[in-house]
Amino acid sequence: MTTYVLRRLAGAVPLILGIATIIFFLVNLAPGDPTLLLIAPGVTDEVVQQMRENFGLDQPVHIRYVRWMAAMLTGDFGYSFSHSRPVIDVIADFLPNTLLLTVCALAIAFVFGIVLGTIQAVRQYSAMDSVLSVVLLFFYSMPSFWLALMLILTLSLSARNLWEWPIWFPASGMNSVDYDYLSLAGRIMDRARHLVLPTLSLSLVLTAGIARYMRGSMLEVIRQDFVRTAQAKGLPERVVVFKHALRNALIPIITLVGLYIPVLFSGTVFIELIFAWPGMGRTLVDAIFTRDYPLVMAGTFFFACMVVAANLVADVLYAVVDPRIRYD
């Protein structure tokens, strides 16, 4: 196992460097450069030229690539033009917010997906199964940003103004304006309240997918002989389902983790825009529009690392969970 992991890690390094190279050339060969947005009639050519030099843009592309790669390998990710701060600081500010959202959404999606899928499989063909199927298919076909807007309009606007529910959720932001003045408990509640809508928007769609997979996987496992043996032995249904069947059915779900992480990251861009969540997705998109090369490259590089890591973890977990799988 350890050799397998080490081999995968060794293979990940050229993979990530290759991704970084492709990103570099894609971004730098796009039309326009950061100085474009500074051009105004009073700004003379010399000043623009000076700015280009300051940003290191006067060098030919391959020299810039070598410089950038060398700097990156020593941990120097450069300076963000649009934020006027070192790139590392920008990422350190925004990445945790995105991770918070992503991790919460994944956790909720998996927990609920697994539970609902199991219920559907164990109670196949019942009314509960049909209702859940319809509801889950409904959410599965939603684009996440549309769902986000609908959630805002119902759980935030209508809940507060129209129906006057006692619980309603804030439509945007990570914390409220009074956040600094709240007690610790108050702050936790505030954060949680602000997390609800964005996490729901991200996770509802995923939950539906995971539930479907879980249902199918569970149905397959329940048909197996060992389950019938366990039932024949007289074990209570709870033990049969949760102790024996579930663990086997979870195996394919684990591979989904690796698949869903990149999906989640691309989904967070919309969610962050709609909920004014100060996260990495939104920052990255803004950086692309302002041609902030160092930030785009560093941000994409981090995302690529996380995707590769997530896939590696998924593969290792796969082997851990299923003793039949051996890596040599």
Binding site: G42, S84, R85, P170, A171, V177, L184, T283
Partner: protein, 571 residues
């Protein structure tokens, strides 16, 4: 399983929540900020002790203003041109030498009084002596001199360099007479006080040693600004919010500390979300909602819609360098063939006025007689096109010239802007009626800028664009033939009458004298038709009833923020 869940929930919550009580903020780890912010904190403590809050129920509370854009370059007045950023510089954090009253007449602000030399070659400003920077240093003439030298220096790359066309630039243009008296030198020209309404004064003692080319990237702008205005910078979470606190040491003669305790500017990029926040009372003021949200704001019992004429307009710029567009009759026909009033009604739902030049209807220079402008006249347009030699010879619905070239014109607009897309598409439909094949093309913003601004490139026929004017109107960058190779000369206009008028208007100091010139200029623009001017949209703002005494007009949304207060009942 349960214990694991519980443990992770608590960990996550603690990680997010944690910390001690009381307002905490993260001060940027830039050395400049680490040095400057403690001085600001010390000043605030002292000022609070020296100027206790008066016993008036209007004092107190927090106002939250929501907008879709971040304040680009923050409080750095030397490098920024973003509208919302400059508003914060003028009215919130910094001070300008003068500001305008509701009639557009200059009145004292940082400058207590001023004299203009008889020959109009200099202005002597006498500054207030009771203004201090938020770190305790007094504001004096050296700050004004520093600001002037910095913004007139080409190395700084001040975006509105056109402001200083008629001033003596650099250190020769400004003289420090004594601690609170400063003289600016200039050539006689129109509206020479306007730049001093617009540019905030920056602290010399903090920024004089910064090399001018590095000013744009300096943390002063977005991480730790130090101003001298009614609100003191507290914190800035990038892409999220700016927090300011009332300045207790603001001069009593100017009203003393603002009524509000705190002012928060929140950035919410999605307008549906921003509307929801306004309607659920998480945001008190919503900057510039689109016209289709206006009715919602009017109907809600807790909010009202403020609406007033403003200084931006939308137009289609025609590139006269292109052969099909070089004839003014063609450009005039394009305008006549478009029903601009119906576009205002459809796209802006009536919240706007049709434009025929770059002069806003509320401006003193506006020529009332031309208010009718160019009427929608498809027959007249067809006649003009025939006269110019464009006839539909092959019966395909599109006109050709004598060489058989189709009258096909592309119109570019930037993606993400629904209004501009609508304009392009409606124009296409209406102009098809008069035999013009108009092709809308969507282009990403930065790429579009490169295509239209690069002097050798000018890769466009028409472009849908917007333009914001200051109170001093100056179309030199747009239409003067000397500047035809400068970025903003999209129209490629080379008209001696326009050149003459632009130069005369620049140099004429007296407004009455200028009125006739303005009338002539607007007429000549209509004859030349470098652009098809579309409309001046009304500015809309949603304001909660919780905030009182809010005045907004063409000067800006934040103009009297230090007089806003929260209704004591709804605190």
């Amino acid at each position: 399983m349960n214990r694991i869940v519980l443990l992770s929930v608590v960990t996550v919550a603690a990680a997010c929540g944690g910390g001690d009580s009381g307002p905490r903020r993260t001060v940027s780890n830039e050395p400049f900020c680490q040095q400057v912010m403690p001085a600001v904190d010390a000043y605030m403590a002292e000022a609070r002790a020296a100027h206790p809050t008066p016993d008036d129920p209007r004092y107190g509370g927090t106002v939250v203003v929501g907008g879709i854009g971040e304040l680009a370059d923050g409080m750095n007045a030397a490098v920024s041109s973003d509208y919302q950023a400059t508003q914060h510089q003028q009215f919130v954090n910094l001070m300008t030498l003068i500001d305008y009253d509701e009639n557009g007449e200059p009145r004292p602000y940082l400058a207590e009084s001023w004299e203009v030399a008889d020959d109009n070659t200099s202005i002597t400003f006498h500054l207030r002596t009771d203004v201090t920077w938020h770190d305790g240093e007094p504001t004096d003439a050296r700050d004004v001199a520093f600001t002037f030298e910095t913004v007139t220096d080409p190395v700084t790359a001040f975006p509105n360099a056109a402001f200083w066309d008629h001033y003596v630039k650099g250190p020769d243009g400004v003289e420090v007479i004594d601690d609170y008296t400063v003289r600016i030198h200039m050539q006689p020209h129109a509206e020479f006080l306007d730049p001093f309404r617009s540019v905030g004064i920056m602290p010399e003692h903090l920024l004089a040693d910064v090399p001018r080319e590095e000013l744009k990237q300096h943390p002063f702008g977005t991480q730790c600004p130090v101003g001298n205005g009614p609100f003191v910078f507290f914190s800035h979470d990038a892409q999220d919010r700016w927090v300011f606190e009332a300045n207790p040491g603001f001069p009593q003669a100017l009203g003393g500390r603002p009524f509000l305790d705190r002012y928060v500017y929140r950035i919410i990029p999605e307008q549906t979300t921003l509307l929801t926040e306004l309607l659920t009372q998480n945001v008190d003021v919503y900057i510039a909602p689109p016209p289709d949200q206006a009715q919602r704001i009017i109907d809600d019992p807790n909010t009202e819609l403020l609406r007033y004429p403003f200084r931006n307009y939308v137009f289609v710029g025609w590139n006269a360098r292109r052969p099909q567009l070089s004839d003014p009759r063609v450009r005039l026909a394009l305008t006549m063939g478009t029903d601009r009033q119906s576009i205002v009604d459809a796209i802006l739902q009536g919240y706007g006025t049709v434009a025929n030049s770059g002069v806003p209807p509320f401006h003193w220079a506006f020529n009332e007689e031309l208010a009718g402008g160019i009427a929608y006249d498809p027959d007249g347009a067809r006649a003009l096109l025939e006269e110019a030699g464009w006839v539909d010879r092959d019966g395909d619905g599109v006109r050709e010239n004598a060489d058989g070239v189709d009258l096909a014109i592309s119109v570019k607009y930037n993606n993400g802007n629904q209004q501009r897309q609508d304009i392009a598409e409606i124009m296409q439909a209406q102009l098809a009626d008069i035999g013009v094949a108009l092709q809308p093309q969507v282009v990403e913003w930065a790429t579009l800028l490169q295509q239209i601004n690069t002097p050798d490139l000018r890769d466009f026929d028409g472009v849908v664009m917007g333009w914001v004017v200051e109170f001093k109107l100056d179309d030199m960058d747009l239409f003067h033939s000397d500047r035809i190779d400068q970025p903003y000369a999209w129209s490629g206009t080379d008209n001696p009458d326009i050149d003459r008028l632009l130069e005369a208007l620049s140099a004429t100091v007296d407004r009455d004298e200028a009125m006739d010139l303005w009338a002539e200029y607007q007429q000549v623009i209509m004859d030349e038709q470098p652009y098809t001017y579309f409309y001046f949209p009304d500015r809309l703002d949603g304001v909660s009833h919780r905030v009182k005494n809010v005045e907004m007009d063409a000067r800006g949304e934040w103009l009297n923020i230090r007089e806003w207060y929260i209704d004591p009942e709804s605190r």
